[in-house]
Symmetry: C3
């Protein structure tokens, strides 16, 4: 069995930001020399997500509006978590809807994707450095 | 390490449809001859889901009503994504709640399931053919 | 390839309860002697979740309030599923937001976690025994 583990770091200037990281993951898969296996990609932080969806700018604004409606940032006092001195309780909730991780099949040495699948890092409490783990296992 | 990769195709006549695909996955696991490992099942499209829940028709109607409330299809103009000519922005959102994929343990050559677990394909923007990937790795 | 499979049982006295099970999973990983691989943790029941987030009591109350808002337990008659004699349709919905499973990387024989990641069992229809599956594969 072959394995490879890599850590990517993201630091956004915005509180909310969706970043297409597909090419970063493609590089790790190429480096792994795994032809058949799986690739785990997960946020190592609990106020951000890894998810697969469409790389369309209008949809990304729809996601932001929708997540703010389902888990509003303001007023921050509506959340008990923010009594700890944080103001990011909403980001912990948003991350549950968007998910922590994805597991992608590797077939023939490549991410086995449908026509529109792209991997995104979803930042919901930015302006600080956060890490993403990429682990490939297979042969 | 043994691996097997299969692609299933679904074409629903309804925009919204939940389909129990457990027996399709059971067949792939049997064909793989893997006795200990994992089975990844994911939608290859970004307006549909794979998830595990209950095969109860009332609950499926509850899911539909609930998802329409959280991410309404109408009015389509509420979503920027639909300015691209699509009308399926809501399906991209619904799919985030229901999830892209599941990873199921294989133990003793079988899907290692609890008493009620069933695997579903969730279609939120149907009337077109979409693929589901099934990948088994193990030994 | 090494594999290990364990089953944990939880029986809460409350309908809604979040339990930190990280140390239970650490023990399984240690017992597996896997140094590089992955650990799948999933609820075997369809009204409970496994998810990774923060071990902060205020946030846990925020999660409960938020999930009750998005998928209210009462009135139970709003859900067709409850016509079967159940009263737990809301728990089937809550579980979709919080997720069935997590896949965690194992690196150097340990769960490869960020600084705040903790694994939780989320019970949304308690007062009965339910099982969680833990499967490690790797080498």
């Amino acid at each position: 069995m072959k394995t490879i583990t890599k850590y990517l770091t993201f630091h956004t200037e915005e509180r909310f930001k969706l970043i297409n990281i597909t090419q970063d993951i493609v590089k790790v898969v190429e480096e792994s020399n795994v032809s058949e296996g799986i690739c785990l990609v997960n946020s190592m932080h609990i106020t951000s997500s890894i998810f697969i969806n469409d790389d369309e700018s209008g949809l990304h604004l729809d996601f932001e509006k929708w997540l703010q409606k389902l888990a509003p940032h303001l007023p921050t006092k509506q959340y008990l978590h923010n009594d700890t001195g944080e103001d990011n309780a909403d980001a912990h909730l948003k991350r549950q809807i968007m998910g922590r991780e994805t597991v992608v099949a590797i077939t023939g040495g490549k991410l086995d994707f449908g026509p529109w699948e792209q991997i995104f890092y979803g930042e919901f409490d930015g302006c600080r450095s956060k890490k993403v783990l990429v682990k490939v296992i297979g042969e």
